[in-house]
């Protein structure tokens, strides 16, 4: 659950137009090769597409972001720890007075990096755990990395660092969803899993509406199965009741902070921003547009333009009158990635959510057999 202070700062930031939270996508390079990734480029491809920002450029953007009001900063990639200057960037951003979280695949290359992170830790490390065997990792990520990743998670936990495990579920690792949950539980780390994979339109515009992912009905069923094994009977019933009342069983996406409205309804471009590896500010990392070049305009002006651009976005009018609009959480990025337009209805998401609701009701009947 999101801390109250964070919610309060976002609320105030929204009134005052402040970029309270941001993401620096330090690199598109990665030592994994996941089929569903929306950003990964090989070093060769990256060099053909553009130049990564230098250490000083990131620090300069960080200082400007801090001056403009940024408190929460996420460092992501690709794999951000591949940059040799990663420990230095983490250290400097923390010293600027920002609460820094890191997204990583958990490989933490080289010998000294793990210890460097333990010595100068972020507030939290979000680690993608793709399965619970080297075989699943080989299939999903092209590298048998499980042993190393799990060893690193344990070491980080043992050092007292907060770790959150995220699982992106695809046809290649769906059979590990339960064991990932059990492993996270045993490690005493929070876990989140989703079968929803954004189409990688930033990399391949022709992939609009497509990705390496489960079909939406199976994805919805899997999400319900996940709830069935992770929730107590009481919690499961609470969720079923919420769905029956056409309300969300979740508090909302803590990273995005959703609400319902015909304009963009998360924090993207309202109190949060994303800066891509080549220096473009967008409201959210899944969107290729609207984009403003931070190196050319400076941070404050890029933020001003990004806010204005995001405020102009209109979501599909039919979603506003949809019966499951409060359950669905379809966002501007989903509309854009699924249909190529912010005002296009993301059918994949509709089908996945309806399948989830049906499967939850069915689970309730067969597993617990009681009245709702």
């Amino acid at each position: 659950m999101e801390p109250r202070l964070s919610k309060y700062l976002h609320m105030k930031g929204s009134q005052l137009g402040l970029p309270i939270a941001g993401t620096f996508e330090l690199t598109p390079r990665c030592n994994f090769n996941c089929k569903m990734c929306y950003v990964h480029l090989t070093e060769k491809e990256q060099k053909l597409c553009g130049r990564e920002l230098t250490t000083e450029q990131w620090l300069s953007i960080g200082r400007e972001a801090k001056e403009t009001g940024t408190v929460f900063l996420l460092l992501t990639g690709g794999e951000p720890t591949l940059r040799p200057d990663f420990p230095e960037l983490l250290h400097q951003f923390k010293n600027m007075g920002m609460m820094v979280t890191v997204n990583s695949n958990g490989m933490l290359p080289g010998e000294g990096l793990l210890q460097q992170i333990i010595n100068d830790p972020p507030v939290r490390i979000n680690i993608s755990l793709y399965g619970t065997s080297n075989e699943t990792y080989e299939k999903q990520c092209g590298i048998p990395a499980y042993d190393r990743v799990i060893r690193n998670i344990r070491a980080l936990r043992d050092a007292g660092i907060e770790v959150k495990v995220n699982m992106s579920v695809t046809p290649d690792n769906k059979d590990d969803i339960r064991s990932v949950y059990e492993t996270a539980k045993e490690l005493n780390v929070h876990t989140q899993s989703t079968p929803y994979m954004f189409p990688p339109v930033r990399l391949h515009p022709e992939m609009c509406g497509k990705n390496f992912r489960m079909d939406p009905e199976d994805a919805g069923k899997l999400q319900a199965e996940y709830d069935a094994f992770r929730c107590s009977e009481e919690e499961f019933l609470r969720r079923v009741r919420a769905l029956q009342n056409l309300t969300s069983p979740d508090a909302g996406n803590e990273d995005c902070g959703d609400a319902i409205g015909e304009g963009i309804h998360c924090r993207a471009g309202s109190t949060s921003f994303w800066i891509t590896w080549d220096g473009k500010m967008t409201p959210c990392g899944q969107m290729a547009e609207p984009a403003v070049n931070v190196l050319e305009t400076g941070f404050a002006e890029a933020w001003r333009q990004t806010r204005a651009n995001a405020a102009a976005i209109r979501l599909p009018p039919e979603c506003n009158s949809c019966d499951i609009k409060n359950i669905c959480h379809a966002c501007a990025a989903m509309c854009y990635c699924e249909t190529g337009s912010f005002s296009g209805r993301p059918d994949y998401v509709c089908r996945m959510k309806r399948s989830y609701i049906d499967a939850m009701m069915q689970y309730w009947q067969t597993k617990y057999g009681g009245e709702v």
Partner: protein, 86 residues
Amino acid sequence: MKVKREFVLREIAGDLLLVPTGKTALDLNGMLTLNEVGAEIWKMLPEVKDEEEIVQRLLKDYEATAEEIRPDVASFLDRLRELNII
């Protein structure tokens, strides 16, 4: 007075926040909010030798008596001690 933990004092939208940095991010997983007087005290901590010096310094800036200020300073410092910050 010795400050044992590393923080950066920031003002965000009129609120004063202590953001943990260095290894403090491990032990204190969150930010602390301060009021204006708390921030004043925080800034003077490395320079003062004891609680009474803080009270005397505040007396110069605020229209209050030492008897009125003393309990608030004590309570603020107690909270910092509880969190092992000083």
